[in-house]
Point group: C2
Chain length 137, copies 2
DNA sequence: TTAATTAATGCAATTGAGTTGCATAAACTA
DNA sequence: TAGTTTATGCAACTCAATTGCATTAATTAA
């Protein structure tokens, strides 16, 4: 399992460090999207700047994607294997529960086709649904 | 026209002040969503805290809605007349241009129907499309 | 129209996420 | 194993967001 994680880092040309392995494992264990603050709470042993840069390196290499958020605090979710640095293909719905505050990726719920006015070019689509999740219902 | 603005404030139980009238007029004049920073640049005469609280009072009363944003800086757009404090019905697409950075509400582009897993309850839907707008193409 | 009441404004100050520079430590390469 | 490159931790800074409080302005009631 640990070997698996190391392979992911290698595939993205990232050095294998304790922090990166721990953070990646945390994302794999959690179903939900995580914020910088979540990482800081979880890992006392790493400096907040290190966690910040770990998130950034994962973003740049296409391991994570950033999820737009009204609150202003950025949250991050795991990308599918098919993501590359330039082109993220996380074509799934993000659900934010207004009760527990958790944001999760509904990987099996695809974003429907959208249309924009003439002359507009679409690079990406982000669909954020808010409401009550099954655990809080 | 000014009377029109005053009536909107009255309808939302907000006192009529210069700042609120100016800010609302600014939103009506602009096609695009605006941020706190935009207001600060536009209105030297008002303190940034006043502008901040003006945005908040408009949010609370359902005059504006907040648009989720990867960048972390909140942007705001005008709600339709049908919006109430608890239930925002701004069922339109938000388009963010990756070139000029502007965010606009595509009022005539409805958000397609979405489905969520069993047990999940939908309160609202936010669809943010990014790409290149017609002016930058 | 004026006095009393209630809310908005401006200023000072604080918080917290996000960010950068630099010296040190760790990971990789040959 | 030695040399090279990158990651980490610490200090420090920026900026948006936020709160408290005294003052000013808007509304309400007499």
């Amino acid at each position: 399992m640990q070997e698996n994680l190391k392979q992911i880092l290698k595939n993205h040309s990232l050095r294998i460090t304790d922090c990166r392995l721990d953070v990646m494992q945390y994302f794999l264990d959690e179903k939900n999207a995580l914020s910088q603050g979540d990482l800081e709470s979880r890992f006392d042993k790493y400096d907040r700047v290190t966690l910040y840069r770990t998130l950034n390196s994962f973003l740049d290499s296409g391991i994570l994607h950033r999820i737009p958020n009204e609150s202003g605090t950025a949250t991050y979710g795991l990308c599918h294997d098919t993501c590359s640095p330039d082109h993220h293909t996380h074509n799934h719905i993000h659900f934010k529960c207004n009760n527990c505050g958790q944001i999760e990726c509904l990987d099996d719920k695809a974003v429907p086709q959208v249309s924009v006015p003439t002359g507009y070019k679409i690079d990406g689509v982000n669909l954020i649904v808010d409401g009550t999740c099954a655990r809080c219902a």
